[in-house]
Structure formats: C-alpha cells, structure tokens
C-alpha cells in the first residue's frame, strides 16, 4: 500500500489536471470523481488535494473561481488554463511512452 501511496503522490498533478480537462470542478467533486473513475482505487485526501490545487494555481496551470449556487451555497471551481492544458498534454505523452516501455518489459510479446 505504501508503494501505491508513493505512486499516487508522484502522479497527483497529472491526475488532477486530467480531471479538469473535461469540465471545471470543485475540490469535493474531484475527490469523488477520482474515486469513481478509478473504481475506488485512488483516494485523494483533502489534506493532499487542496494544497496541490493551490500549488497548481500558483503555477498558473489552473485557475479557481468562486461560484454561488441557487441555494446560496458557495464552491470554488477550478479549471485548466492554457498552460495547464499544455502541461497535461506533455505529461500524458510522457506517461504513454513510459507505460508502453514498462509493458514491453513486463509483458513481452
């Protein structure tokens, strides 16, 4: 489990950027969506998610905006910036090359 936690930690940025690729999301939604898409495999703690979101925002890869819902409730929605989209594309390309290389080794034809 410790190895998996390390793996998640090393890839948190790309996972979060991927989540935001389709639509802007707020923190709680991201946690739920990550669990849903990974079929419960990935669980991102609140204590990890928000500092990472703030770091990505400082790096101008995402931008956060407050929205007030009809019921008066407020949420901070994050969306990708152009720099964030470029970073995601780079990281996805790197990941695809890395995983195919790993597969060539662990699953030889």
């Amino acid at each position: 489990m410790r190895d998996l936690a390390q793996l998640l930690k090393g890839n948190t940025d790309v996972l979060i950027l991927s989540l935001l690729e389709s639509e802007p999301m707020y923190g709680y939604q991201m946690i739920k969506e990550l669990e849903r898409r990974s079929q419960g495999f990935f669980h991102l703690g609140e204590g990890t998610l928000y500092p990472v979101l703030h770091r990505l925002e400082r790096g101008k890869l995402v931008v956060g905006r407050w929205r007030r819902l009809d019921g008066g409730q407020e949420r901070r929605y994050y969306s990708l910036t152009e720099a964030g989209e470029r970073r995601l594309e780079e990281q996805m390309t790197a990941w695809a090359r890395f995983s195919s290389a790993v597969n060539l080794i662990i699953k030889p034809a």
């Binding site: 923190g27 709680y28 703690g45 609140e46 204590g47 990890t48 928000y50 500092p51 990472v52 703030h54 770091r55 400082r58 790096g59 409730q73 407020e74 949420r75 901070r76």
Partner: protein, 319 residues
Amino acid sequence: MAADLKSYIERVRARLDLGTQEEDEIVRELETHVEERLAELERNGLERDRALRQMLPRLGRPQALAREFRQAHSQATWHDGLTAAAAFLLVAALYATNLWSYPPAVTGVAALVVAVTLYGLWHRRPPWFYPWAGLALTLLAFCGYFAFVLLARAAQPMADGQFEALTVLGFAGALLYMPLALIIVASCIRAASRRDWLDASLMLSPTAPVVVWLAALHQHGGIYEAPSMAAADSALAMTFVLMAVAAALFVRAGTRTLKLATLIGAATIALLAISAVDGAQISLEVLIARTVLLFGFLFSPALLDMIPAHPFGPTAKQD
C-alpha cells in the same frame, strides 16, 4: 463538536502565516468543503457529531495541513536561494578580509543584517528570511560577549570594595542583558518553529560557529589581538561560504527530506569549522560531546514543535 471544527480551522489559520486575503480564501474553501462532506455523511444517516468525528481526522493535523498550504503559497525561486545565501556570504567576506576588526565595516554589516531582517519580517518572512534572521541573532551573541567582558572587568573592582556608579551600572546592565538576550532568542525560535522547525534550525545554524569563534577570540586575548586570529578567521570564512551553499539549497529544496539533509550537511560543516577554529587536537570523547551538543542545539526546534501550544486545552488531542 462544532467548537472542535471551529478550533481546527482556527489552528490551521494560526499556522498559515500568509497574507490575510490568502488565509481567508483557504479557510473559506476548507469550510465549504467540510460542510459539503458533513451534509453527505448526514444524508447517509450519520449524526452530525459522529460525522464530524469521522471528517476531521481525514483532514490531517492542522499543523501539517497549514504547512502544505504554506509551501504551496511560498515556493522558493533561485533568486530566493541566492538572497538567503547572500547573508552568509557577507559574513564570509567580513572574515576573509579580516574586516571584522574594523568597526565601521562591522557596524555597516550589522545595520544591513538588521535592516534586511526587518524587511523580511515586514514581508511576512519570505523563504530567504531565516539566514538573515539567524545573523541578526548572532549579533546578540556578539553583544553577549561584550557584556561578558564588561561583567568580568566590573567584577574585579567590586570584589575589592570599589563601588563606583559607572562600574555598578555596567555590571548590572551586563547581568541583565544575559537573560534578556536568552528570552529574545527563545521567542524567535518559538515564533519560527510555529511555522516550521526546519526554518528555526536554519536560523540557528550560524550561531554555533560564531560562538565558538568568540570563545577562540577570548582565548587569544580579546578583540585587540585580531592579527593572531588569522587561521580561525579563514576557517570561519570558509565555513560561511559552505553554509551559504547549504542555505541556497535548503531554500530551493522541494521536500522536507531534502531540507533536512541540507541542514545535517550544514551542521556537519559547522562541526568541522568548530574543530578548525579551535585549532587544537581533540579526543574522540570531545568530538562526540561536541557533535551531540551541536546537533542537539540545532535540532532543538524540533522538540519545541512536538509541544502543543496549549497542552492542557480542550483541543490539544487533535494536534
């Protein structure tokens, strides 16, 4: 339990040490997140108190959460690293050129160190702040040395029954200075540790070599015997050059493990410097004792970090 949530949020805020607007944004986001999560747990049939008990541990220790946010909001650049290193390079230059015995140069450097430290405090302690603050604290050690000399000089005539007003005043002033300086140093360490004990340790790093150098100066006959201190001066100058490199790496390091490794490196340099300043051959026992003392001193802020701010308070168990 609502009080626990409020207390938790307040403890995070107290340790953020960012601008008011940034702190408000973080707290607002955390509160909306917690409310949303609580509402879901309540919809699933949990009572609010139980839901809150389940929710709070998921957020982690307030101290750790605040540290993560702070790091996210204060990522250091190489410019920060160089500004941090400049503090130690300034001292290295002072010793390498033997200008420390030239009062206008010392006064100029001291004024610059204090000014930069105050500027850093005004700007809410940016990443480069702690080496400068550490040097400002070593000024207290310098004044402490002069207080010690004054004390020793005033004690002799007083022991002989001469109680001139100036002598008594000097003695009392020097005697008062010591606890006052210790209180100031302890308060600074405490304040720095509240943010991160690693920063406090970096702040303490210049103190040990400087104190040992002052002891060597005293053994060599005091401030008027400057030429005989050339070897110790060179050793101290080299130490501060290496510590400048360590400070730049510390500030730029992205993880706490790397910062800790850099600090251990700086402490080892300081230990070698102490031996070089001392000059004499030392036994293994003395070396071990010095190592324990130095590392104990440098990493004492880590112990402070373990002590809760309000050990008997109702919420101490969460931290």
